[in-house]
C-alpha cells in the first residue's frame, strides 16, 4: 500500500505541498480532485522522483519501501508508474524499442527473463489491440506526431505492458474525447485487482464515471482538505471547489 505522511515539498523555494497525509490500501483506487494550482501534479512528480521537486519533510512509502530515497528508475522497478499529463516526444527513439527497453529493464529487476524482439512484438500487438491502437504506432518515434489522444493511449499501453503495482494517472482524461476516455478507463480497469492500486488525478468528475474510485480526496492549497466515497466527486461537480473551501 501507498502511505504518505506529512509530505511537504517545494519548487524553486516555493512550498507547494503543505503536509499531505494519504493512504491507499493495496487493491484500491483513489481519486484526487482539486482546483488548478492545488498541488495535484506536484504530488505525482514528487512520488515519481522528478528533479527540481524538493521534498522538505514527511515520508512516502510503497509496500514499506521508502520511495523518496530511490532514483526514478528504482521507483519504477518498485512498481510505481506515472502516466504523464503531457507525455514528451522522443524523436529518433522508436516506440517499439522504447517499450521493450522499459519492459526488459523492469523484468530484469524482478529477476524475470528479458523478452526478445519477437516475444515483445507478440505481447505488444495483443495489448494494442485491446486498446484499439493502430499497429503503426509501434514503428513511429515515441509520441512523435501523436495526437493528444494517441499520446494518452500510449501512456495506457505502457501501463498495460509494465503492469505496475501503483499507477498514478495525472489528468489522463484531459484532451480525450469520450471514446478515448473509455479506452483509457478500460486499460486501468483491466489492471484492477488485489495487487493493483491507483491514484487517479483529475480536474473533472467525468473520468470517474468510468474508473469508479474507492475513495475521493480533495487537494487544495497543498493539503488534502476533504475525503469521501465516490459520491464526493459528484457533489464537487455540482457545488464546485469553492464550496469545499468555505466548509
Amino acid at each position: 500500500m501507498l502511505k504518505i505522511e506529512g509530505l511537504t515539498a517545494e519548487i524553486d523555494g516555493k512550498q507547494i505541498l503543505n503536509g499531505i497525509d494519504l493512504e491507499i490500501p493495496t487493491g484500491e483506487i483513489h481519486a484526487i480532485m482539486g482546483p488548478n494550482g492545488g498541488g495535484k501534479s506536484t504530488l505525482s512528480y514528487v512520488l515519481a522522483g522528478r528533479d527540481g521537486y524538493e521534498v522538505t519533510g514527511g515520508t512516502a512509502t510503497f509496500n514499506g519501501i521508502d520511495l523518496l530515497a530511490l532514483e526514478p528508475e528504482e521507483r519504477a522497478a518498485a512498481g510505481v508508474f506515472l502516466a504523464f499529463q503531457y507525455p514528451v516526444e522522443l524523436p529518433g527513439v522508436g516506440n517499439a524499442n522504447f517499450l521493450r527497453t522499459a519492459l526488459n529493464a523492469i523484468r530484469r529487476t524482478k529477476g524475470e527473463p528479458e523478452l526478445d524482439a519477437m516475444q515483445f512484438l507478440k505481447l505488444a500487438r495483443q495489448r494494442m489491440k485491446e486498446l484499439s491502437m493502430p499497429e503503426d504506432m509501434l514503428k513511429r518515434g515515441v509520441n512523435v506526431g501523436f495526437s493528444g489522444g494517441e499520446k494518452k493511449r500510449n501512456e495506457v499501453l505502457q501501463m498495460a505492458l509494465l503492469k505496475p503495482g501503483l499507477a498514478i494517472l495525472d489528468e489522463t482524461d484531459s484532451g480525450l474525447d469520450i471514446d478515448a476516455l473509455k479506452i483509457a478507463a478500460d486499460g486501468v480497469n483491466a489492471l484492477r485487482g488485489p495487487d493493483f492500486s491507483a491514484l487517479v488525478i483529475t480536474h473533472y468528475q467525468r473520468l470517474l464515471n468510468y474508473i469508479v474510485p474507492d475513495r475521493v480526496h480533495v487537494l487544495m492549497g497543498g493539503r488534502i482538505v476533504q475525503s469521501g466515497g465516490p459520491e464526493l466527486a459528484k457533489q464537487l461537480e455540482e457545488s464546485g471547489y469553492t464550496a469545499v473551501q468555505a466548509a
Partner: protein
C-alpha cells in the same frame, strides 16, 4: 638508425627534396609541375595558424611541432582486415595500394599516373588549401575510380589503414581520383582506420568529378587511432543534374579536420553535405565545408551533428556561396551540437554569401544538453539513467544517419556510430 626528422613545413619540404626522384610521376612533366606548384605554396605559406580566418578554431601546433617520417611497411605484409562493409573493396595499408587485398574494380594511382592525366589536379587546388598542397607534394599512391557513362558501379569500400605501432611518427598522403561519367552511379564508402597508439598524420585528398546526371554517394568514416591526426580534403565538382550525396563521420583521432570544397557547376545539380562528429575527452574535430552554387536551379542540403563528451572541442564551419548566376538556388544548412559535459566546447560558424536575388536559403544552429524532461520520462519507465542517456544520444545521431538514402552506406555509418558509443558509454 634513429634519424631525427625536422618538424613543421620545413621538415616536409626536406622530405620532398629527398624523395622527389622516387615519387610517382617524377619523370612526368605534368605531375612534376603539380608537385612543384604545391611545394611552392607550402614554402610561401607554411602551415596555417589560428590567425588565418579559416583556421581560427583549429590549431595545427601538434602537426607543426612533430617530425614525421615515411611508413616503412613491407609491401606484402600480412594485415588483418576489418569486416567489409560493401561487396567489393580497395585497400591501402600505410598509404600504399594493396592489389592483393583489393577486389574492387579500381586502379592504383601510383602505379599508373597516366590514366589520371587530365583528372588529377583538375578539381583540387593547392594555393589556399594547405593540406591539399602537402598531399599533392608528397602523395605516393591512392586509387583511381573511373565509372563509364550510364554504368552503375554498385558499392565500393575504400579502406585505408594506418599502422602506428612505434614511437616513430609517420605521415601518409593518399590521393584518390573519382570520376563518374554521364548518368553513372557509385556508392563509395571510405574508411580511415588507425591501429596502434603512436602519433601519425593521415592526410588524404579525394578529387571527384561528376559528369551530367551522375550520382555519387560518398560515406566517409574516420576511426583513427587515439593519437592520430586526420586532415582530409574532398574536392567535388558536379555538372548539370549530378548529385554529390556525402556523409562525413568523425569518430576517432586526437585531431581531425575534414574540408569539403563542393562546386555545383551545372543547372539542377545537388549536394548533400551531411555529417556527424563524435568527440570524447581530449579530442578535437572540425567539419569545414565550402559550397559553391555556381549554376541556377541547384539544391544543397547540410545537416551536421556533433556530440561532445569530456573535455573535447568541436568545430563546424559551413560556407555557402551563391553566385549571381545561381538563381533559384535552394539551400538548407543545419548544425546541431549536444554537449554532454560542462568542459566540452563547440564553435559553429555558418557563412552565407548570396549574390543572386531569387534564392531560398535557410540555416540554423542549436547547442544544448540532453533534455531533462526526456531523460525523466525514460527513467520513470524503469530505464536506468545511463541507458536513457545513450538512447537519447543515439536518437540524436540517428536523425543524421537517416539522411543517407543508400542502405549499404547507412548501415556502415550506423555500425560505426554504435561502435563509438559502446566505447564511450
Amino acid at each position: 638508425m634513429n634519424a631525427i626528422f625536422e618538424p613543421g613545413p620545413l621538415g616536409f619540404l626536406r622530405r620532398y627534396e629527398g624523395l622527389q626522384p622516387r615519387l610517382p610521376g617524377a619523370r612526368t612533366p605534368w605531375v612534376q609541375a603539380l608537385r612543384d606548384k604545391a611545394a611552392e605554396a607550402i614554402r610561401a605559406n607554411g602551415f596555417p595558424t589560428r590567425k588565418i580566418e579559416a583556421w581560427h578554431y583549429t590549431d595545427l601546433a601538434l602537426l607543426a611541432r612533430t617530425g614525421f617520417a615515411e611508413a616503412l611497411t613491407p609491401v606484402d605484409e600480412d594485415v588483418v582486415l576489418p569486416e567489409a562493409v560493401a561487396p567489393s573493396r580497395a585497400v591501402l595499408i600505410d598509404g600504399r595500394f594493396r592489389a592483393d587485398l583489393t577486389n574492387a574494380p579500381v586502379r592504383s594511382l601510383g602505379a599508373d599516373l597516366s590514366a589520371a592525366e587530365g583528372l588529377l589536379g583538375s578539381v583540387a587546388r593547392v594555393d589556399d588549401v594547405p593540406m591539399a598542397a602537402l598531399n599533392t607534394m608528397l602523395f605516393e599512391d591512392g586509387v583511381l575510380i573511373n565509372v563509364p557513362a550510364e554504368q552503375n558501379a554498385g558499392a565500393i569500400e575504400l579502406l585505408s589503414i594506418i599502422q602506428a605501432e612505434g614511437d616513430r611518427p609517420v605521415a601518409v598522403h593518399p590521393r584518390h581520383v573519382i570520376r563518374l561519367g554521364a548518368g553513372a552511379q557509385l556508392v563509395l564508402i571510405e574508411r580511415a582506420i588507425g591501429r596502434g597508439e603512436g602519433r601519425y598524420l593521415h592526410n588524404p585528398v579525394i578529387e571527384i568529378e561528376l559528369a551530367e546526371g551522375a550520382h555519387l554517394t560518398h560515406a566517409r568514416i574516420q576511426q583513427e587511432g587515439a593519437e592520430g591526426i586526420f586532415l582530409s580534403t574532398v574536392f567535388a565538382r558536379a555538372a548539370a543534374g549530378a548529385t554529390y550525396d556525402s556523409f562525413l563521420l568523425h569518430a576517432g583521432a586526437k585531431l581531425s579536420r575534414s574540408e569539403a570544397y563542393v562546386s555545383l557547376d551545372g543547372p539542377k545539380a545537388m549536394a548533400h553535405l551531411n555529417g556527424a562528429q563524435l568527440l570524447s575527452d581530449g579530442q578535437h574535430g572540425d567539419c569545414t565545408t565550402f559550397l559553391d552554387h555556381a549554376a541556377p536551379d541547384c539544391a544543397s542540403r547540410q545537416t551536421v551533428k556533433t556530440v561532445l563528451a569530456g573535455k573535447s572541442r568541436g568545430v563546424f564551419q559551413g560556407k555557402i556561396h551563391v553566385h549571381q548566376i545561381a538563381q533559384r538556388t535552394d539551400g538548407y544548412q543545419m548544425n546541431q551540437a549536444l554537449l554532454l559535459s560542462p568542459e566540452a566546447e563547440i564553435d559553429s560558424k555558418p557563412q552565407l554569401e548570396i549574390y543572386a536575388d531569387d534564392v531560398k536559403c535557410s540555416h540554423g544552429a542549436t547547442v544544448g544538453e540532453l533534455d531533462e524532461d526526456q531523460l525523466f520520462y525514460l527513467r520513470a519507465r524503469g530505464i536506468p539513467a545511463a541507458t536513457a542517456r545513450s538512447m537519447l544520444i543515439e536518437a540524436f545521431l540517428q536523425e543524421a544517419v537517416d539522411t543517407v538514402e543508400d542502405e549499404t552506406a547507412r548501415n556502415a555509418l550506423a555500425t560505426a556510430v554504435a561502435g563509438w558509443w559502446e566505447k564511450v558509454a
